[in-house]
């Protein structure tokens, strides 16, 4: 497989189960290192980095959105969004507050900041997760089946939100999905089959 993703892309990776979508995302997201071949992130070889350096890279540059949201149940929506910034000591408390509130407003949850995840609907939880992925202003956002646990209307609004953020903030988005709707939103659609790129369509 040979794949190059440019900054600012809004790309969807589709394919049947077992085709390698998640593995590809894990490699791009520096959660895994390749056993053969190489992954270059902004020109840097991922395999040459130590685990700590990879963690540091994820901490600063990469946002993750998970299929099952993975919010921390004992933290409020506000605190869940605050979490990635708490790992960045260079961002002071005032800026932290401003960014969290701004993001939660952007995803339409300004009134629900104090609620805990279990007090929110699935769509609201995924919007918290999106805010969490974006709050550190990453250059790359990876979303693993972001709409899989949402109904279609909610899925559309979440996708519209991500597309808007992509356009406004210029962050690169890469999704993996089974969902036809997500594929329709993508500006580039990669189809995987058995670990290979079966088609690569730019719209």
């Amino acid at each position: 497989m040979d794949l190059r993703v440019e900054p600012g892309e809004f790309t969807s990776i589709a394919g049947p189960s077992g085709s390698g979508k998640t593995t590809l995302l894990n490699l791009i997201g520096c959660l895994d290192v390749p056993s053969a071949g190489s992954v270059l992130l902004a020109g840097e070889e991922v395999a040459k980095k130590t685990k700590d350096e990879l963690a540091d890279l994820r901490r600063h540059k990469i946002g993750f959105i998970f299929q099952t949201f993975n919010l921390v149940p004992v933290l409020s929506a506000y605190e869940n969004v605050e979490l990635p910034l708490a790992l960045l000591p260079e961002i002071g408390p005032a800026e932290r507050r401003e960014r969290v509130e701004q993001l939660l407003t952007l995803v339409g949850l300004a009134d629900l900041m104090a609620r805990r995840p279990l007090e929110l609907s699935g769509g609201q939880q995924q919007r918290v997760a999106i805010a969490r992925a974006l709050v550190k202003r990453p250059s790359l956002v990876l979303a693993d089946e972001p709409t899989a646990n949402l109904d279609s209307d909610t899925g559309v609004s979440v996708l519209e939100l991500m597309r808007r953020i992509n356009q406004e903030q210029g962050a690169t988005f890469i999704f993996s999905t089974h969902d036809q709707m997500v594929m329709r939103f993508a500006r580039r659609l990669l189809l995987l089959r058995d670990g290979r790129i079966a088609s690569d369509e730019v719209r």
């Binding site: 700590d52 963690a55 993750f64 998970f66 605190e79 979490l83």
Partner: protein
């Protein structure tokens, strides 16, 4: 800060499990505070008894008398009045009492038992010691052929106030020359001090009567000193030794009671270790709780790692959770146990009543009422121990969870 807040909330994430773990830690700390509160209280009480009933703060002997096991009345202080005057002249000294002790045999209605006869001044002795308040039957003596014995001895010999016993001892004059004196003594009072040796093996007689019976002249075997400030013990002992010169030696109650104090320290350490073993068992429960928590939260930890949380921060999160768990458990244990120890400090534990009048041996014999001692030191020790143990018990689970690979952890359901 954020990690601490998260850790604090995580402690109560699984309520039932946390409550069970907190109960375990709380029970451990409760046991610690109660056991050590009683042990410390016993130690404090025993120290006061050493001072009030046995030694005063300081004792003056003729040089060599204390170490010489065969010393007799010939080796006593020959002119105690001058030594006493020198002692009283010191600003540290509140009171001095002369005493004359001699190994004796007591006879009563065909029974006999060895005892230490101690001649004490019925007035001056009360300024150094606190024997008189321990009278439980009869009265304090004035002078003449009267005696006081402890309730244990009274029980052994079957003596009541008013009974007459025969006191037999070797008078002054050396082992060969000394005539054996045997005189009648009317027991006028029974003491119950709670000190087993004192209650079981001593006959107190008036000092003048003892001197006369033992042909001892003005001699005293010991001068007991009470200080104005008990904390000035060593300084006062040095000043006193300098004032009375090299013919005499001064011992503090700590030196005189060294055997007991060492025994007490050993027993105290033993009790502490026993409680530590119990707390170690509790720690196994904490390890289990933390392992369960790490297992249940693997996906969340995977998410943390994906967000770029460092492994040491994951470890710190779980160590903080352990510390908070320990803190809450310790707070609960202290909150439940300290009122109890406080009650024991004020009202005491009636050992005699519980044991039906028998002595209780917890490494050293106890009788009468046992008091607890609630101190800030004990409370701080208990809180610190709770936190340290629970944090230590979290070390392994925290290390284990920090080794997870993010992709593997995220796959867990």
């Amino acid at each position: 800060m954020f990690l601490a807040r998260l850790a604090l909330r995580n402690v109560f994430r699984n309520r039932r499990r946390s409550v069970i773990t907190l109960l375990a830690i709380g029970t451990g700390i409760f046991t610690l505070v109660l056991t050590m509160g009683l042990t410390n209280g016993y130690g404090r009480q025993a120290e006061l008894n050493l001072i009030d009933l046995e030694y005063g703060h300081l004792e003056i002997f003729r040089a060599g008398y204390y170490e010489d096991k065969l010393a007799g009345l010939e080796d006593a202080i020959a002119a105690p009045a001058a030594v006493e005057a020198a002692a009283r002249a010191l600003p540290d000294v509140a009171a001095v009492a002369e005493r004359l002790s001699v190994a004796s045999l007591l006879h009563f209605q065909g029974d006999e038992m060895p005892a230490l006869a101690v001649g004490i001044d019925p007035v001056a002795d009360n300024q150094v010691f606190r024997l008189q308040p321990s009278i439980v039957a009869g009265r304090w003596f004035t002078d003449g052929a009267e005696g006081l014995i402890g309730d244990r001895m009274a029980k052994t010999l079957g003596i009541k106030p008013g009974d007459v016993l025969i006191w037999q001892a070797r008078a002054r004059g050396g082992p060969d020359a000394a005539p054996i004196q045997a005189v009648e003594v009317t027991v006028v009072g029974i003491l119950s001090t709670g000190d087993p040796a004192l209650d079981g093996t001593i006959l107190f007689v008036p000092l003048a009567f003892a001197r006369e019976s033992l042909l001892a002249g003005p001699r005293a075997t010991v001068l007991a000193v009470r200080l104005r400030d008990p904390d000035r013990l060593d300084g006062a002992a040095a000043a006193l030794a300098a004032a009375i010169g090299p013919d005499y030696e001064v011992k503090t109650w700590r030196e005189l009671g060294r055997d007991f104090l060492q025994l007490y320290q050993v027993k105290r350490a033993g009790n502490f270790i026993m409680v530590l073993v119990f707390l170690a068992l509790v720690s196994v429960g904490i390890v289990n709780t933390m392992l369960m928590a790490t297992y249940e939260r693997q996906r969340e930890i995977g998410m943390f790692l994906a967000l770029g949380m460092a492994r040491r921060e994951v470890r710190r999160l779980f160590l903080l959770e352990g510390a908070f768990l320990g803190m809450w458990g310790a707070v609960a244990g202290v909150a439940l146990s300290s009122p109890l120890v406080w009650l024991l400090q004020v009202y005491g534990l009636p050992i005699a009543w519980i044991s039906g009048g028998k002595d209780v041996d917890i490494g050293f014999p106890i009788r009468g009422v046992m008091y607890g001692e609630l101190s800030a030191g004990l409370v701080i020790e208990a809180l610190a121990l709770g936190v340290i143990l629970a944090t230590a018990a979290s070390l392994w689970p925290a290390w284990r969870v920090s080794r997870l690979e993010p992709t593997a952890a995220l796959r867990r359901v």
